[in-house]
Amino acid sequence: MIVADRKPINELLEMIKDCNKILILGCKGCVTVCNVGGSKEVGILASILKIARNKEGKPLEVVEETLERQCDPEYIQQVKDIVNDYDAVISMACGVGPQFLSESYPNQRFFPAVNTTFFGGAVQHGIWAERCAGCGTCIIHRFDGMCPIARCSKSLLNGPCGGSAAGKCEISKEVDCVWDLIVTKKMDQGRMEEITSLKPVKDWRTARDGGPRKSVREELIE
C-alpha cells in the first residue's frame, strides 16, 4: 500500500489560517489501512483543528467526509455539490488525492494533510516499512524477492557495500541491510553463484527519472 504520515498540526493550521470553514476529506484506501487518513483520523483531525482554533479565538467550522477512494474520478465526483461551499478543503489521502480533487474542481483550494512516504507494508502493528520504489522494471526475482533499489540506501545492484555491519545498514542500526539478507539467504541455500556475476546498470527510464509516468491499458479504454 501507499504509506503516509500525518503532517504536524501547526503546518496544517498555517495552511488554513485565513479559513473559517473547511471540509476535511478522508479516503478509505491505503491511508485508512495505515491509520492516517480514514474516517476515524478525519474525525480526530477535525477535533484537533477546532480546539486549536478556539484557543486562538478564531473558531473554525469543519465538515467531515470520507470517500471510497480519492484516486478515482468516479468517487471524486461525489463531492461536486458541496466542495465549493468551503474556504478550503484538506485531503487526508495520499498525494494523489489533493491533485485529483484540484483537477476536478479548479475553483477550490486543496491542501494535503499527510506526507506521503513510500510503498510498503506493516512489519508489525504500528510500524510500516518501505518495500518498493516503483522503479517501473521489477528485478527482485534476481534477489529472492528482496528489492535493493528500494531497500539499499545506495540502491546498489552489486552489494553489499563496505558499510554493512552485523546485518544493519551504515546509515542506521534501525535499518536492515537488504544486501546482508540477500547474500545470507543465497549462501545458506548454496546459491551464491547467483549473485557473484556483475549485474548490469539499470535503465532508469521506467522510473521517475524518465519523467512523469502513465500506464495505458488499451483494452480498458472506452
Binding site: P160, G162, A166, L198, K199, V201
Partner: protein
C-alpha cells in the same frame, strides 16, 4: 612498456614487482590551493601515487578532480577517487575523460559514504550506477574505447583502475567473493579499508590467495596510524565498516601521556613489516589522515625508501 594499461607510475612499480607504497591527501575544505600543495609536498618522492579523496565522509571539499590535476602540475602522481554518490553516468564518464585529459592516470572506483554522514544530509543521492558497475565502465572506456551506450570514444582514457575492499564489513564470508567480483569487473589494483584487526585480515588474505585473486590484481593493504585514543574510539564507533579491536585501544592507552601517537606509528610499522612478508599483499596504502607531514618519517622507518623508479 607496450603492454601497460595506463603507464602510470603506480602501474609500473607494481608490474615490475616492487612492493608499492601509496599515500593519501584529503582536498581542502575550500579553494586553498597552497594548503593542498603543502600537504601533498610531504608525499612527493615518498609514495608511488597519492589518493585524492572525493568528498570523503560526504563532507564537501575541493573536488578530487581538481585536486588531482593540481598534483599533476606539482609533479606528484595522483590517484583520482570517484564516488557514485554524487554523479550520474553522464557526469562520471565526462569526469573520467576530463581527468585523463589533464594527465591523471590512476583512478579509484567507490560507492561513497551515504550523504547522511556528511555536512549536507539533506542532499539527494545519485547512485545511478554502483562501484562495481563503475569499474566495468572505466574498463570498457579504456579497453573497448566505448562509452556505456556503445558509442565510440575519440581518444579513450587509459587509466589504471582501482577498487576498494573492506574485509571487515559483513557478511564476512562474502567479502572475498565481492573482491573477486571487483577484479572480474576490471579492477587492476585494490586498496583496502584501514586494517586494525589483524586476525581477520590474515583470514581474509588466505581466502583471497586460495582463490588466486592476488594473481589477477595487486592488493594493497590499508594502513592508518592512530594519532590519539580519541581517533581510535571515533574510528571504532562512528566510521562505517571499521573494525578497531579493543586490544589496540588498550595498547594505545597503555602508551602513556604524550606517547600515544608514537605507539600508533609503532603499530602501523609492525603491520607493514608483516604485510611485506604476507603472501598476496603487493603493497601498502598509507592513509595518514591530516598527518601527511608524518609520512616521510613513517616511510623511512618502514624501510620503503627510496621509492623505485621504473621506466
Amino acid at each position: 612498456m607496450n603492454d601497460l594499461k595506463s603507464g602510470s607510475n603506480l602501474e609500473k612499480v607494481l608490474k615490475a614487482g616492487h612492493f608499492a607504497f601509496t599515500g593519501e591527501c584529503g582536498p581542502p575544505k575550500g579553494a586553498n590551493v597552497e594548503h593542498l600543495k603543502e600537504k601533498a609536498a610531504h608525499l612527493k618522492g615518498v609514495v608511488d601515487s597519492v589518493n585524492l579523496t572525493d568528498n570523503q565522509t560526504a563532507v564537501v571539499r575541493m573536488s578530487s578532480w581538481a585536486a588531482a590535476t593540481i598534483l599533476v602540475q606539482q609533479g606528484i602522481e595522483p590517484n583520482y577517487q570517484l564516488v557514485c554518490r554524487d554523479r550520474n553516468r553522464l557526469a562520471i564518464q565526462s569526469d573520467i575523460l576530463g581527468v585523463y585529459a589533464m594527465g591523471v592516470r590512476n583512478m579509484l572506483c567507490l560507492s561513497g559514504d551515504h550523504q547522511s554522514f556528511g555536512n549536507h544530509p539533506e542532499a539527494k543521492n545519485v547512485y545511478d550506477i554502483d562501484s562495481m558497475q563503475l569499474i566495468a565502465l572505466a574498463k570498457k572506456m579504456r579497453d573497448e574505447g566505448k562509452f556505456m551506450n556503445e558509442e565510440e570514444i575519440d581518444e579513450p582514457p587509459q587509466l589504471f583502475i582501482g577498487a576498494a575492499s573492506n574485509p571487515f564489513a559483513d557478511p564476512f564470508e562474502f567479502r572475498v567473493h565481492r573482491l573477486g567480483m571487483k577484479i572480474e569487473a576490471g579492477a587492476d589494483f585494490i586498496q583496502t579499508q584501514c586494517i586494525y584487526n589483524m586476525d581477520k585480515w590474515r583470514e581474509f588474505m588466505k581466502m583471497a590467495v586460495d582463490m588466486g585473486l592476488h594473481e589477477k590484481a595487486y592488493i594493497l593493504a590499508g594502513v592508518t596510524p592512530m594519532k590519539s585514543i580519541g581517533m581510535a574510539q571515533y574510528m571504532a564507533k562512528s566510521v562505517p565498516g571499521m573494525d578497531v579491536p579493543e586490544s589496540l585501544i588498550k595498547r594505545l592507552r597503555g602508551a602513556g601521556k604524550g606517547k600515544v601517537a608514537e605507539e600508533g606509528i609503532k603499530f602501523a610499522l609492525e603491520q607493514i613489516e608483516e604485510f611485506k612478508e604476507m603472501e598476496g599483499v603487493a603493497g601498502i596504502h598509507l592513509m595518514a589522515i591530516e598527518w601527511e607531514h608524518k609520512v616521510p618519517e613513517i616511510a623511512e622507518r618502514a624501510g620503503v625508501l627510496p621509492r623505485p623508479k621504473v621506466d
